[in-house]
Amino acid sequence: MSARFRSAAEDAPWARALLALAAVTIGILILALPLAAVFTEALRRGWGVLRAALAEEDTMAAIRLTLVVAAIAVPINTIGGLAACWAIAKHDFPGRRLLVVLVELPFSVSPVISGLVFVLIFGAQGWLGPWLQARDVQIIFALPGLVLATIFVTFPFVARTVLPLMQEQGREEEEAAATLGASGWQIFRRVTLPNIRWALLSGVLLCNARAMGEFGAVSVVSGHVRGMTNTMPLHVEILYNEYQFAGAFAVAALLALLGLVTLAAKTVLERRGRRA
């Protein structure tokens, strides 16, 4: 290989070094620094202050509410997502592509609009508002509204992670099981589910991270009542706007930690999935 040829087919060593340096610098500036800022601010006043901030009653209430919302929203989207994937990947029916588009649609909707749509239906001046008020049922500014908005924004995660894998795996195994007389449920549980388990777990984790971290959509339907309808991300905002930076960054650090753990788990699961 001539030197001239190599110089056109590959980057020169100095260019490689420069590009790597630029990439690392940008990675640090754009990606690592914000994360470092959160943890620095949270720990600035020491562990004691951090722990006290997290142990505060309203903060604990926000953590509990976030866990409850995720515990309802994630299973619903897991079941719905799996059903949609199984129908799309293992069966033929007209409108399959339309269903895929609909399942992915919430990703292209602004979080604020995701909350807005439920206010339009269930809010005081919404379609069902007067009817609900007459029966003393509160959906907006209460737990059901928070859950609905969260389900909307986390809607595509499980389906999106699992569907490509299910389609790639084809239908032979399921068809063989059907020939042997297995029922639909048996086929799903014994054949399909084991094949997709790592992708499913990864999708559930991503769905959960977004459910616990969602801000815009729940902000619209929450009403921001401390200790009542305030999830963790909303509590960050309230504390921050009251200049209670110790508390705001303490809760933010907890959420950042959730994000980091999810990211690490996703990386591990993807490697597992590739090996399997």
Binding site: L31, P34, L35, V38, P111, A209, Y240, A256
Partner: protein, 272 residues
């Protein structure tokens, strides 16, 4: 050969359709219908308020700027991750997904802390260049770059990996220099992916709320994004007006994405 249809279709499609209809279709239908309570003239009046036009221009303008700024940055990161070997490459690869995983409110207060006049980056930028980033439209662009960047990296990366080096080597044997090989061979092959990465990043950035409102300053007519205006109208119980802004945002965003997909088709055809 299809031996036998797989059973279980009825139940799975039933669950899936219920789920899609109740959570996505009906609510979006409400968004499509609600604004017209104002009548056609009312919707036009509601949308042509100066404050609405300013916020839409700001949201779409900053999202487009952020998408454009993310293109070279995302390209560089994807190139480094796929083609280069250096210390910390795998960490960088994992970190690229951080904006996906970090809750937006956390990103918002973190970026505000960084770029505030006394922040790690805000202080030097102000001292050296006299730039104010936090609480100005520039801050919005910074937040949206953070949000849009992973979309571009993750769209370009697989294409660059599949591209291999054959084409560059062929260009080299034909006497191309390195810059020529990159500009004429690598970049055109990545162009469709860059366009679709831009589209994904832009779509996400246009509607972004959590990471923006902390750093934006939220001054009406100057740094008030469209999603914030929806929230403000809801607080005033102007449901139809809020829905009008929301519907306008969605339709405008879809129009942009449609335009981008036409551009992309043109790029692909140009190469074929």
């Amino acid at each position: 050969m299809r031996v036998r249809a797989i059973p279980g279709f009825g139940l799975s499609i039933g669950v899936a359709l219920t789920w899609v209809s109740l959570i996505v279709l009906v609510p979006l239908l409400a968004l499509a219908v609600k604004p017209w309570e104002l009548g056609v003239a009312g919707v036009i009046r509601s949308l042509s308020e100066d404050r609405v036009l300013a916020s839409l221009a700001l949201s779409f303008g900053t999202a487009a700027l952020a998408g454009l700024a993310s293109l070279p940055i995302g390209l560089l990161l994807a190139y480094a991750i796929v083609r280069l070997r250096f210390l910390g490459r795998r960490i960088l690869d994992g970190m690229v997904d951080l904006p996906f995983a970090l809750p937006t409110a956390v990103a918002g207060i973190a970026l505000t802390a960084l770029f505030a006049p006394n922040g790690w980056l805000g202080a030097p930028l102000q001292a050296w260049f006299g730039w104010k980033v936090a609480f100005t439209p520039a801050g919005i662009v910074v937040a949206l770059v953070f949000v849009a960047l992973p979309f571009i990296v993750r769209t370009v990366e697989p294409v660059l990996r599949d591209l291999g080096r054959d084409a560059e080597e062929a260009a080299a044997t034909l006497g191309a220099t390195r810059p020529q090989a990159l500009a004429r061979v690598v970049l055109p092959a990545l162009a469709p992916a860059l366009v679709s990465g831009f589209g994904l990043g832009f779509a996400r950035a246009v509607g972004e709320y959590g990471s923006v409102i902390f750093i934006a300053g939220n001054m009406p007519m100057v740094s008030e994004i469209a999603p914030l205006l929806i929230v403000i109208r809801l607080e005033q119980f102007d449901y139809a007006g809020a829905a009008a802004v929301g519907l306008a945002m969605l339709l405008l965003a879809f129009a942009v994405l449609l335009g981008l997909s036409l551009v992309q088709r043109g790029l692909r055809r140009g190469r074929a």
